[in-house]
């Protein structure tokens, strides 16, 4: 099982950050996203549930990963860019 510390493929984190920033029309530099900061809420990227739908679409299109809300790891998956990147890397089929 991967934990946040296992994978340090920051290149992939950057690629995913770029997809998220583009999908959400955010006016920020993807390289400026702290990979360990929470995605939800005002402490980090400040995304909300509509954004999560947009992100899920990008992840499905780019990597073939279908997100499920009853995944018990969901809280962890969306807790940071790094955890989201780990999840996508683990289950990607393209």
């Amino acid at each position: 099982m991967n934990t946040a510390a296992d994978i340090k493929d920051t290149g992939f984190e950057q690629e995913l950050a770029q997809h998220i920033v583009t999908a959400l029309n955010m006016e920020i530099n993807p390289a400026g996203i702290d990979p360990l900061a929470p995605l939800y809420g005002d402490a980090g990227l400040g995304i909300d549930s509509i954004d999560v739908l947009e992100i899920s679409l990008v992840i499905t299109k780019q990597y073939g990963v279908q997100l499920r809300s009853d995944d018990e790891n969901n809280v962890r998956i969306f807790s940071s860019l790094r955890n989201l990147a780990n999840h996508v890397q683990q289950y990607r089929i393209k």
Binding site: M26, G46, L53, E54, L57, Q66, L67, R68, S69
Partner: protein, 444 residues
């Protein structure tokens, strides 16, 4: 006094709901309602926050039996709940989230599964009883109440079911992606199961894969009750759905293009519903083939001094449209853009006046305004905001807003400016704000 049964078109043993893959009979539902009603505290107003749609409807029905009014506010921010508490002093909340913590006295939905009660007859509810108060966002931050009687609500969902051709369809299951706590989901996924003889699905699937799994987990036939945001994501995903009999969409305007894509992709008719909080649902159209709205049965329209009024059917009195519309006959119309002040994102409603009030109420904000850009590409439109606040950074302003407004309305982007482009009369022309936003986009 005329009364209307809680439940219609149901035999005791027929399936009333699907919950976690299990069928719940109409008899079991009635037993749960009567049992819960006995456990509710003696109060007059309830805030029903149950996430599970079945538990929500049991809670609503139990409250109805006890003569308690269900409040349906536009959001559940701490600011709004405290305002409600001030106005409805005995308000309590019912929740099925074990870890829920809020400002109201809380009743956790009890486990009713072990109760074995004798068969219950179907309760009758007085038609004039106030069943719910639905709130719109007022311009002063205080929500505006709209009382809904049991008679009006039941007439509304019956007219809807007739229009959707699903009245007394017995084995048709309605799966909703919208919460039952807002008017559309309240009527079209919850009340409709009580009054129209269709089956409720307890889940509220979110991701496209969730919707697929929920639909695949029940026997057909199936209908999907959703919004443009969810529909767009669903169409764009490659999730396989089982055969759908009907797709219903509401809350924000649906484009012809997306409607046609959905019809082609899922092979089901798509019917869009239009309404507003004061009147409830008003009209429908088959968006893939027409722009013209047809009023629900019993309703009629008239125009006076450029304002369109609706009356008849479930509408109490005569109510003005809040949107700009063109009348074609006394039962058909076209919408020409929704009224600029009303904001609707993913089924959540507010007004620019309300948002501006909350923004300017933050300590340190000297002047501020929200701005709704024109719809551009297929993406969900987001609000922008311009703020004059020399001593705050945008993160601090966002944190303060988060306590007061629904996250769906948080501005993106928010720009700090030295002054707003107010004209000589102090107004903020839309064109000036559009230009300002464009300047920031150009600079990014």
């Amino acid at each position: 006094m005329p009364s209307i049964p809680l439940l219609k078109y149901r035999q005791p043993e027929s399936v009333f709901a699907w919950q976690d893959g299990n069928a719940i009979s109409a008899q079991r539902f009635l037993t749960d309602v009567v049992s819960l009603a006995e456990l509710l505290p003696a109060r007059s107003h309830i805030l029903n926050l149950c996430n599970d749609r079945y538990r929500f409807l049991v809670g609503f029905s139990a409250a109805l039996l006890r003569g308690q009014i269900s409040l349906l506010p536009p959001n559940q921010t701490p600011d709004l709940l405290n305002r409600l508490k001030q106005h409805y002093a005995d308000l309590y909340c019912l929740t099925d989230a074990a870890d829920y913590r809020g400002p109201l006295e809380t009743l956790h939905f009890p486990d009713l599964s072990q109760l074995v009660l004798p068969p219950t007859s179907i309760p009758e509810i007085p038609a004039s009883q106030i069943a719910a108060i639905v709130f719109t966002s007022g311009s002063t931050g205080n929500p505006m109440p709209n009382e809904k009687s049991w008679g009006s609500l039941t007439r509304s969902v019956t007219a809807e079911a007739q229009r959707l051709s699903i009245l007394d369809r017995g084995n048709l299951t309605l799966l909703g992606t919208v919460p039952p706590q807002h008017m559309y989901g309240f009527e079209s996924t919850a009340l409709i199961a009580l009054q129209a003889g269709v089956i409720l699905h307890a889940a509220k699937p979110f991701f496209p894969a969730d919707i697929g799994a929920a639909l695949n987990g029940i026997p057909g036939p199936r209908a999907l009750i959703t919004t443009p945001v969810h529909l767009r994501t669903l169409v764009a995903s490659d999730v396989d759905l089982p055969e759908l009999e009907l797709i219903v969409c509401a809350t924000a305007p649906l484009t012809r293009e997306l409607a046609m894509q959905a019809v082609t992709r899922f092979g089901a008719p798509l019917r869009e519903i239009y309404g507003f909080t004061e009147a409830g649902q008003i009209a429908s159209r088959d968006t893939a083939t027409t722009d013209v709205w047809q009023t629900l049965d019993g309703l009629s329209l008239r125009e006076e001094d450029g304002v369109i009024y609706v009356s008849g059917g479930h509408v109490v009195g005569e109510l003005p449209f809040s949107d700009v519309a063109e009348l074609h006959s006394d039962t058909t119309f076209s919408l020409h853009g929704r009224t600029a002040d009303l904001i609707n994102i993913a089924g959540k409603r507010t007004s620019l006046a309300s948002l501006n009030h909350h923004l300017n109420a933050i300590d340190g904000v000297l002047d501020g305004v929200f701005f709704m850009p024109e719809e551009h590409d297929g993406n969900t439109v987001r609000l922008a905001a311009f703020v004059v606040a020399p001593d705050l950074d945008t993160r601090e302003i966002l944190a303060a807003l988060r306590l007061r407004i629904d996250p769906a309305f948080l501005p993106r982007p928010m720009h700090k400016v030295d002054a707003l482009p107010r004209n000589a009369t102090g107004k903020l022309p839309r064109a000036s704000l559009a230009t300002l936003l464009q300047q920031y986009k150009g600079a990014a």
